[in-house]
Symmetry: C2
Subunit: 267 residues, 2 copies
Amino acid sequence: MKESSIDSQKITWRKRDGELEYLPDELTIEEPLEIRIGRKTLATTMRTPGHDDELAAGFLVSEAIVRGSREIAGISETRDNVVIVDLAAGVKVKLNSAQRFGTISSSCGLCGKTSIDAIRQNFPAIKSANVRTDIETLLSLPEKLRQAQSDFARTGGIHAAGIFDLNGAPKIVREDIGRHNAVDKAIGRAFLDDQLPLDRHVLLVSGRASFEIVQKALAAGIPIVVAVSAPSTLAVDFARENNQTLIAFLRPPCFNIYSRIERVILA
Amino acid sequence: MKESSIDSQKITWRKRDGELEYLPDELTIEEPLEIRIGRKTLATTMRTPGHDDELAAGFLVSEAIVRGSREIAGISETRDNVVIVDLAAGVKVKLNSAQRFGTISSSCGLCGKTSIDAIRQNFPAIKSANVRTDIETLLSLPEKLRQAQSDFARTGGIHAAGIFDLNGAPKIVREDIGRHNAVDKAIGRAFLDDQLPLDRHVLLVSGRASFEIVQKALAAGIPIVVAVSAPSTLAVDFARENNQTLIAFLRPPCFNIYSRIERVILA
């Protein structure tokens, strides 16, 4: 994690004994990032600087705007928080996606009234029935995620997303003040490395599992989604409809399985 | 809090002893809400159903689209997650806001490259210098917020935002799966009741303080913003520039003051 994810500010701290102390505090950097395709602004998101090319790529994958890394000719970053994606010659932004430009939300990933239906059309359900992981592997993931994070992140001030193989080996770990951005960065890295679909991988997020997190995993073909905190109703519904295994409240030795339990080796 | 904020699903729970149990789990409901002005879609947000009129009103206040409740002729809700705001005769959506329609983000509240500048123009900095609260009042707020929440919310599966007076009396408490929505609902309620500006009030949020939270507070004229968790760099910068008092990590008996400490009576 780059140093630029942290900034220090002088604050007044009230201590347990009621005394006040004036000292520096480390804060997670939050800045806007404008994502453009050529000259067209696609979305603006509040993010922690770093890995902006991955964030843009992952966002385009999640929004079903690109499917393969060859569709992107290049990604450039300006100094004033703009990342510009140039599509390869001949690649057109699909009409369905273009229609959704009007209200694309960086954090929610949802765009207009018909977007849930649109996502169902865009991303096929998970097919692989024989992808499995075991309980010991699952229980090992939170500690592995923490170890892969920066010292600062371990204090809990920033979200993390990790992509692991079925044996629990970490492949990509990314951090961001927004959990959706952390997932976009991780998926974007895999996309830029031509690793999609991640159909033999597990996604772990440090926070809650919303609809958007599960949707982004589906965009990357990830069959098993794991969250440290609570899932929403829509996350569970979406996972069930798309044959994704959804596990949440992963707090070793406990966890909850919400869908497709057959991918967890219980014996 | 309405019953409709919760749904129950059967899940498999791995217990501490490794045994598995099949039982119901309570989940926070997450559904999209499309916010329209007349026939024009403004934004779609993922939210917990309930108080949708307040959410729409608070969103319009935060986006500087309306300033007074008389500018809204009516708010109607459809059964399919659409809320329609009808502006009063003669009220035009300001050009600045209209330009930002293209990329309004429900969660981030940020819209286009120049949005931070635009917000500075839209909302005046806090002027009141003699608005103050004391330490005992501050320390009492988290417990008061919890008491005002639903049983379910107290388990931590949902965010809360509370507006308190300077003596710590709770005025409005709202809950939502999205913390920005909880703030929009609380501010929206105050707006619809003609209570803005809330220039003698405190906003407490159950989670982190991002730029957007502090910005929404400024839109409502709130001078003191308090968060249970961490602030971001931009939240601190924004609060300092706009003369807002920002307090975070409020975990009695401790807290951090990031700006405008003179509004806290320290003696």
